[in-house]
Structures are given as structure tokens and as C-alpha cells.
Amino acid sequence: MEPIYQYAWLIPVLPLVGAIFVGLGLISFNKTANALRQLNAVFVVSMLGAAMVLSFVLLWSQVHGHEPFLRTFEWAAAGNFHLTMGYTIDHLTAFMLVIVTTVAFLVMIYTDGYMAHDPGYVRFYAYLSLFSASMLGLVVSVNLVEVYIFWELVGMCSYLLIGFWFDRKAAADACQKAFVVNRVGDFGLLLGILGLYWATGSFDFEVIGDRLQQLITSGTLSVGLASLFGILVFLGPVAKSAQFPLHVWLPDAMEGPTPISALIHAATMVAAGVFLIARMFPVFEGLPVVMSVIAWTGALTALLGATIAITQNDIKKGLAYSTISQLGYMVLAMGVGAYSAGLFHLMTHAYFKAMLFLGSGSVIHGMESVVGHDPALAQDMRLMGGLRKYMPMTALTFLVGCLAISGIPPFAGFWSKDEILEAALTANPLLWIVGWLTAGITAFYMFRMYYATFEGNFRGNESQLRQQLKTESNEMAYAFGPGAMDPKELTLPSPSQTSDHNAHTHSSSPHESPLTMTLPLLILAVPSALIGLLGTPIDNFFEGFIHAPGKAMEVMETAAEFNWTEYLVLASASVGIALVGITLASLMYLRHQIDPKAIADKIQPLYQFSFHKWYFDEFYESVFVRGCRRLARQILEVDYNVVDGAVNLTGFVALLSGEGLKYLESGKAQFYALVIFVALLGFVIVAA
């Protein structure tokens, strides 16, 4: 097996080579490269396919008990400072490699159908490949600095992909927002890394953990300071995994094409935060304050995402908030020390959420043939309905996804979510209550989404409704556009960016998507339904494979003293609340026995609170965005008037005094002598 490990670096490098080739082709021979559309795609996909095969082999080898592998080289050095980079293959890495490559592979196949008519088809593949390379690099990283490097690179790919349709104003704003919000997290991560390095002299996860414990026990480093460093590092995952309060970028990121919403903003990149917490586990677990901050952030985020998802009308935004909520679960799991449970949920979520997003993409693709290429219309669930008839495959797979995320056994989400809730209960009953309630809300909003989209009658042809949604979206754009610095904006005719394609809509009913799109959906449905069986409490294969470093023994012990009654009570409680949620949703949106509008009117403030996403965007806009602009403008004024003013004043005074003095140049020697005499006198008096 050794040669495989020697060449494991190929896994991130292969997609990188794909991206570089296609990218260079685009720059040097733009026309030709763009003309060879599918050839490029096949090249990129096969590169990633090779990486996927390698990843599977590595996983197989790791499952069969191969030793972890590590290889490093010196990357930067100055004096006695040496920074190494390299790659490592252990259980966690092999597991993440497989998730990332499989999802990326399927998403790339799907892309061929989804982007078939887009002029940026080839560029999109180049970006996708670049992202895959960075993400795989992040996974195999050996130390914090290397993680930070790839962490930023996946952020850059996310920026490029969100802003892929650069002529849409909303996309332009969203990509900048995503990058800047992530930089806020990186700011914390960077400071945390620096702090930990200062304290322990190392960037290695386990070395940091060991030395930090030594320092704390010997009393040389206060627990408070160590915890502060831990929390700073945690800020990185807070931004990347869209946790409260830095979650605001993820819903906006839905402006990007749907395949990347599935790959980056559901399955892989946003899960990188959870991955980093897992990597940092040796450091965090010794710091109870940090652990509880992580747990509570996760719980709050889970609740926040779910409560907002209830009222969203945009199918992708709804899924985005659901992602935020599910990421909250994972972070919560990490915070209560349920290492394997968190990663287990990461895996199940990666598959079912990628499928849900691809399903929503398929829906949008179908809707676009009716309402045109306007995201404000094509993604609005109020215009959908009854799509099951037109797109049965999509509907079926979407239903599997909804069941999985709602936690109905035996679908994947049940096993992982239940394990998290169980761990939360042992840690703090309050955390369990939050998680449990969220599970109910999750089931409710997911089935609301399913019923509104796939059941009932198709509403896409109601022109009055369309018009109304259009005006709404325009108003929204005025109210929340982060680019308010541009005064011309208000005079632009249509900020919602209705592109020119709007006019030609082909048909009055949506159609099922091509095979390249439905096939990945069907393939993803298999793990979404079944992969949870890897982690059943009866035979927890998953936990035996993925467990916190140095926790192997404990896992065995807990497995031995497994309590059936307790387990069944908990499981039925969570299934019960999920069923309540589903029933409510079907009463409201399938049978229309309860009018959701009446309820919304009754609890108007609460409804508005949820609808406006807890007013985070408004708050950040008025405090940070405007505040930053105001400060910048004031400083520039100071720069012009005070700093530069002083310089110009000096010049002016010099000019004036020169002009004034020239009248004293009379050419009379006596006068000069007088001046010299007076000056001398002055010096003498001062000196005396």
C-alpha cells in the first residue's frame, strides 16, 4: 500500500492541474477553449475522478488499519524558525477526502446539464476544479498554517463562484460580502494561530494541545488566555461554517449557480469549519470555556437557521438557512465533545444536502423555461407547486432528502442527528431541548418546502403573482443592497437584474431535467437514504473508525455499556417531534386545513422577525457597513484638509514670505548692514 501513500499528494494536485490547463486555455486561446465545451468538462471531471479513485483506495487502506501517513518538507525558514508543509493521511483525512471527491464528482457531472447554455460553461469548470483542489488541500493539511492557507483559498474560490454571474448586481454584492465576512473570521483565526504559536512554539495540532495543557497545569499560562486563543481560532469556523453571528454571508451566497451552492455552500467548504474544530480537538477539549462557547454557538445557530427557514419563499434561501441550522448541529456536537457524532452528521448532511440543493437546481432549471432567467421568479416557491407531475425524479429524490434531514428512520439524518442529541443531553439538558425543538422545526420547514414545490397546482403561469413578486424583489434590492455607496444606484432602472433572456420563455409547463442532472440526484439518494446505517447504535462502525485522537478506549467502553431503554426514549422523542412537524406542514400546505397566513397575521411581530432574518442584515448594514464608510470618508477628509493642508500651507507661507521679502531687497548696503546689526543685537540679548 505504501506507493499509494507516496503519491497521495496527487489528490489535490490532479484537480489543480485540470484547473490550470483549462484556465490557461481560456486566457491564451479564449475562443477555441470556449468552443471545446464538453472536452474541457471531460478533462476536468476525469482528473477529479482519478483523485476520487485514489481517495477510495486510501479510505479502504485506512479502514483496514494502515498506519497514518505523514510527509513534510520545509516551506519557509528564517533563522531558527522553520515552517513545514506537507500532507497527512489518517482516518479523518481519508474520510473527508472521500466525501469531498464524491460530492465534487457528482456536482461536476450535474453541472454539464445545468450550465449547458451558459456562455461561462468552461470557466465554471475551471473554477470548480480549482475549488476542489483547494478543498482537498485543506483536508490533507498537516498544521495550522497550511490549514489557514487553504482556508483562504477555498474562500477565494467561493468568492469567484458566487460572483460567477458578474453582471448581476446581487451576485456582485454577495461575493464581496462572503469574502469580507470570511475575512473577519480569518482575522480571529490568524490571531488565534499567532497566540497559540507564541504560547507553545508550534503549529501542529497535537503538539499545541499537549504543550498548552502542560503550560496550564504548571500555571505559566492562565486558562483565561488559553481560552481566548481557543475562541479566536474558533472565529474561523464561525465564519466559514456560517455560525451566529457571522452567518449572514451564506444566504446571500445563493446568488451563485446552484451546483456550487450544493458543493461549496452545503457539502464541503462550509463543513470545513467543523473539520477544523475536529482537527483542533486536542487543543479545545482541555479548555471547558471554549467547548461551551462552541456548543452554545452551535445550538443558537441551529435554532436561528431553523426559525428563519420557516418563512423564506426563495427555495435556495430556505435551503441555505437549513444548512446554517444543520451546521449548528455539527458545531454543537463538537462543543459537547461528541467528536464522531459531529463528523457523522457532517457526512450524512454532505450527501443529503448536496442532493437537496441539486434538486432545487433541477427545479429552478425547470422553472426557468416557464418564467425566464430571473432568480426572483424562478426560485420563488410561491410560483411553483405541483412539480411532481412534471419532474418525478427530482420530486422523488427531494422527498428522500426531506425525510433524511427531518430525521425519519432509517434515513441517514436520523442516525447522526440522534447521536448528537444524545450527547447534548448528557452535556446539558438545555442544549438538548434547543436541538430537539430545532429538529421539529426542521421537519416542518422541509416539508413546507416539499409541499409548496411539488404538490398542489402549478402556479407559475399566474401573471399577476409574477408581477407582484417582481415589484417585491425590486423593493428588497433597494432596501438591503450593500452597495449603497454608489449614488447612481437609485437611478438605475432595475437593480434586480432581469437579464435580457427574460422575454423568451419557451413553454407554459416546466420539464424534467436532462439525465446528467437527474443521474447525480439518483446516485446521491443512495447514501442519503442508507449511509446512516454505518453508525447505528447496534454496530457503530463509524465511531470505531472516526474517533477523537486518543479516545479509542473510551469508544469501546461506551459501546459496551449501551443503554437500550434510554436510547429508545430519546429516539422516539426526536422522531415524534419530527412527525409533529411533518403533520403540521401537511395540514397547512398540503390539505390547506390551517391557513398559514392567518397564523402569520396573528403573530405579526414574530413573523416579521423571522422573515427579516432576525434583522441581522439591517443591523450590520447600519452599524458596520455604514460606520466603516463614514469613518473612511472622515479620515480621507482629514487627510485632505489637515495633513495635506499643512503641507500646502507651508508652501503657501513660503510663497507669501518670499513675495513679502522681495520688497526689502532694496540693494542699499546700509540697509543690509542695519538688518545684520539688529539681528546680532538680538542674538546677544537672547544669549545673555
Partner: protein
């Protein structure tokens, strides 16, 4: 001929200058022959630089190499002495590289081409001389001489306010360089012997008060050049009016002279004063980073925006210089080289964009990506490089400065935490202004007012070539920084080791004693190799 005896550096300096004198005699029509001539001279000289350093220079030696010294005016003790060490070598390479590319960037210049290329070539030699000369008085002379071509390039080929800008530039920089002269003379006449040789000056035993005074004088002069806020206001004006090639030289090389001289004179010759001034440098560095990032964000003029961003990036050089760690100083040098290339590429793009849009006001642009996808791609790459994206050199430089400061034992933890926090705020501010800029130029719906009036053609091969040549080393260093750092490592190590001997005067064990002990506890294993070498050098 013995290659070791050959006056390599003198040849490198004089060749472009002498070649520039031939320009008036070249038969030429509308500058088409002259530009090829200038490019050829630039390339030849750059090749000579590369060859010299490749064959004649030993990277592991921290001392001066390629030393040449000729008596110039013996009555004054004035010598033409040039040499290179780890500090000047990367910057000489950078100068050759950027100036050659600037010649290529000047391709569309049609107004008075003979004079233009004459000045560019004269600057070529002048700039290298600044980095190579080892005689204080000659240093002052070349420092002043190199201002004249810049002044003319600004005043003749500049924008609308070029006279104001060039006058401001010349008064500002010439005025400030008076301090160099005064300080140099003071140092030369201090003590028993009168000498202008930098090495001998560095060995003189100055009193502390004298050092502080001289240090202050140098700081003003180099602070204008670097620039340090609040001595920076010439730069937005000069940059705002310059044409693209002049821009590339200003940002790519001229700013680096400030940093170079600061290390060469203030750190190397006046180490005791440096201990006192270092905290001030760090504070100034932080102010640079944040202040200029904010002003850049508020700027609506593209050129001035990038100009302010240069100021912001130079803040890291200041912090790196004052860290008293190998990593910090190494990061400062790397930041100079890295910004030399990134800054030059951004300014080149500004010029290329202006050639098409004929406006620099952001409000008058918007949505031009559709017409110019290649320009868009280049802008994105260079902006990402400028905002210190990992995988590019800017990131490595900033990271080294950050880690260098974090591990520095010269400052108390509270001060470090505060500085690191504020400098890291710069990490958030940089993408804000750079990405806003990209958004306003390229993203969104097309600005009809602009696209109706201007023909927006996409980038031509020459432009792509220039950006590619600048980005290849930027990415190369970003992927494997040792490639560059190892060629000057010996020098920075020696400098820092010398500076650190004097540091204990600065360490005041106060505030949290526990943490201070904590550092020692852990740093012992990592710092172990350094301690013997420190003692050995005593």
C-alpha cells in the same frame, strides 16, 4: 580576463546610463526604434544582473560582496564604492526586472519618445546605484539624482495636475533628503577620523544622543520616501498624475528605497538608537496600515486608491523592521520585493484600464467585465495578490511579519497584543477596499454611459505578458517562499543578531509576569540554537 576582478556592479549601473546618451543619435520615427532600443538595453542589463548574481555571488555569505572601490575625489575622501549584500541584492534584481517591464509598459508613449526613454534608462542606472553604493556622500548624490528623471517624467508626461504634483514631489523629497546630507556629514565628521565609507561609519562608536538625533534625521528622509503617515501626501498626488510606466517605477522601486535605506542606515549603523525608536516604528507601521486602508476605501479615484493601498502595505515593512526577530526582518524584505511586483502590476493595470475607459473615477465605470474579460481576470488576480491571498508572495510576507512580531521577546505582551490586533484589522480592511473597487469597475450591469462612448477592447498580448511576468514570481514565492528568503537570509540573520544584543534595555518585565515566564518556559527548546550564536557574536 579574471571574472572575479571585473567591475560587475559598476558596469550594471553605468551601462544603461551610457546607453541612454546614445538615444539622440538613433535614427527614429515616432519612437518606434527607440523603444526597441530601450527595451533591449533594459533586457541586457537585467540579464547581466542575473548572470552576475548567479555566478559571482555567494548566498550564504552575509558580508558585502562584489566590492569595488575607486577614489573619485581624493581631496574629499570621496570614493566610488559599490557592493551588494543580502539586503541590496534582491532589490537590485527587482529594479532590473521592474524597469525592464516598465519599458515594455511604455509602448504606447508617443509624446517626446526620445526624452522619455532617455529618462527611463537614466533612472535604471540611478536606481540600482542607490541600492549598491557604499559611500554615504555618493549615496546622497544618487538619491538626489534619481529624483530628477522622476520629476521630469511627472512634469512632462503626467495628467492634468502634473505641475502641482511634480513640484510637490520634488520639494517634498528634495527637502527631506537634506536631512540625509546633514546626518551623513555629522556621522562622517564624528570622532577622530573623517570617512564617508558606510562600513567604517557603521563601526564608529557614536554616543547615544548623537545616534538618536541622526536616526531621527534619517527617519524623516526615508519616512517621506517609504512613505510613513503623515509624510505621505506627495504620493497620492504624484501617483495620481503619473503615467503607467512611471507609476510602476514609483510604486515598484522608489518606495523600496525608503525601506532599504531605513534598514541599511538606521538599523545597521545606528543599532542603539534603533532600540529606542523601534516601538515608534511599530506604532507608525500600524497607523500606516489602518489609516491608509481607510483613506483608500473612501477614495473615488482609482489611481489614488491604489496609491493609498501602497502606503498601507508599507506599514508591514515598518513593523517587520522593528520586530527584532529573524522572521520579522525577513518578512519586511520580502514585503518590499513582493509589493514591488504587486504594486507595479496594479498600477500597470490602472494605466491599461485608463487607456480604454478614459476615466479614473469609479462612479463613471461599472460592469465593464463583459467587454473586457481578460482585463477583469488580470485585475482579479492582482487584487487577490494585493490582499495577501495565500499562494502569493504578499501573504507570506505578512505572515512572516505577524509571526515575527508575535514571537518577538523585545516587547511586552500587552503592546504586542494591541499591535497584532490592529494590524490584523488591516487584514479585514484590505479586501474591503480592493473588492469594492473590483465590484465598482467590473461587476454589475454595464454602465451604458461609458460603453456608449468608449470602445472597450480586451487586453492585448503585450499587456497579458507584462502581468504574467509579474505574477509568475509572485505566485512562485507564494508557493515556495524559501526560494527567495534563502538568498538574503544570511544578511537578515546577522543584522537581527546584532540588534538583539542591545535589546535587553527594552525588555521591561512588567504587567503579566506569569506570561513572560511562560514564554521562556516554552521558548527554550525552540530558541536554543540562537542563544549560543548570540553569545558567540558578543
Amino acid at each position: 580576463m579574471n571574472t572575479a576582478e571585473f567591475p560587475w556592479l559598476t558596469t550594471i549601473i553605468l551601462f544603461p546610463i551610457l546607453a541612454s546618451f546614445l538615444i539622440p543619435f538613433i535614427p527614429d520615427h515616432e519612437g518606434k526604434t527607440v523603444r526597441w532600443y530601450a527595451l533591449g538595453v533594459g533586457l541586457l542589463d537585467f540579464a547581466l544582473i542575473v548572470y552576475t548574481f548567479y555566478t559571482q555571488y555567494d548566498f550564504s555569505d552575509s558580508g558585502l560582496q562584489l566590492v569595488e572601490s575607486y577614489a573619485w575625489v581624493p581631496q574629499l575622501g570621496l570614493n566610488w564604492s559599490v557592493a551588494a549584500d543580502g539586503l541590496s541584492m534582491p532589490l537590485i534584481l527587482l529594479t532590473g526586472f521592474i524597469t525592464t517591464l516598465a519599458t515594455l509598459a511604455a509602448w504606447p508613449v508617443t509624446f517626446k519618445p526620445r526624452l522619455f526613454y532617455f529618462l527611463i534608462l537614466a533612472m535604471y542606472g540611478g536606481q540600482i546605484a542607490v541600492f549598491a553604493v557604499q559611500d554615504m556622500l555618493v549615496f546622497f548624490l544618487v538619491w538626489e539624482l534619481e529624483l530628477i528623471p522622476v520629476y521630469l517624467l511627472l512634469a512632462i508626461w503626467g495628467g492634468k495636475k502634473r505641475l502641482y504634483a511634480s513640484t510637490k514631489f520634488i520639494l517634498y523629497t528634495a527637502g527631506s533628503s537634506l536631512f540625509i546630507l546633514i546626518a551623513a556629514l555629522a556621522m562622517a565628521f564624528y570622532g577622530d577620523s573623517i570617512t564617508f565609507d558606510m562600513r567604517s561609519l557603521g563601526l564608529k562608536d557614536y554616543s547615544l544622543n548623537f545616534q538618536l538625533l541622526v536616526y531621527g534625521g534619517f527617519l524623516i528622509a526615508y519616512g517621506v520616501k517609504l512613505p510613513i503617515v503623515p509624510l505621505h501626501t506627495w504620493l497620492p498626488d504624484a501617483h495620481g498624475e503619473a503615467t503607467a510606466p512611471v507609476h510602476m517605477l514609483l510604486a515598484g522601486i522608489l518606495l523600496k528605497m525608503g525601506g532599504y535605506a531605513l534598514i541599511r542606515m538606521n538599523v545597521e549603523m545606528l543599532p542603539e538608537a534603533h532600540v529606542y525608536f523601534a516601538p515608534a516604528l511599530i506604532i507608525l507601521g500600524v497607523v500606516n496600515i489602518i489609516y491608509a486602508a481607510l483613506t483608500s476605501f473612501a477614495q473615488r479615484n482609482l489611481k489614488r486608491k491604489i496609491a493609498y493601498s501602497s502606503i498601507s502595505h508599507m506599514g508591514f515593512v515598518l513593523i517587520g523592521i522593528a520586530c527584532f526577530t529573524d522572521l520579522g526582518l525577513s518578512g519586511a524584505v520580502l514585503q518590499m520585493v513582493s509589493h514591488g511586483m504587486i504594486g507595479a502590476s496594479l498600477f500597470f493595470l490602472v494605466g491599461a484600464t485608463y487607456d480604454r475607459t478614459h476615466t479614473l473615477i469609479l462612479d463613471e465605470m461599472g460592469g465593464v467585465a463583459k467587454k473586457m474579460p481578460k482585463v477583469f481576470a488580470m485585475w482579479t488576480t492582482c487584487s487577490l495578490a494585493s490582499l495577501a491571498l495565500p499562494g502569493m508572495s504578499g501573504f507570506v510576507a505578512e505572515l512572516m511579519v505577524f509571526v515575527g512580531l508575535a514571537t518577538s521577546d523585545a516587547y511586552n505582551p500587552t503592546f504586542k497584543v494591541l499591535v497584532l490586533f490592529l494590524a490584523a484589522v488591516g487584514v479585514i480592511l484590505t479586501p474591503i477596499y480592493l473588492l469594492s473597487m473590483l465590484r465598482e469597475i467590473f461587476y454589475g450591469p454595464e454602465n451604458k454611459e461609458l460603453t456608449d462612448h468608449e470602445v472597450l477592447v480586451d487586453a492585448e498580448p503585450r499587456e497579458i505578458f507584462i502581468i504574467a511576468s509579474l505574477m509568475v514570481p509572485v505566485i512562485g514565492i507564494g508557493l515556495y517562499p524559501k526560494m527567495l528568503t534563502q538568498i538574503y537570509d544570511a544578511k537578515t540573520l546577522q543584522l537581527v543578531a546584532r540588534g538583539r544584543e542591545l535589546v535587553p534595555t527594552l525588555t521591561r518585565p512588567n504587567t503579566s509576569v506569569k506570561i513572560a515566564e511562560g514564554i521562556k518556559f516554552v521558548e527554550q527548546p525552540t530558541q536554543a540554537p540562537a542563544i549560543p550564536s548570540l553569545e558567540a557574536s558578543k
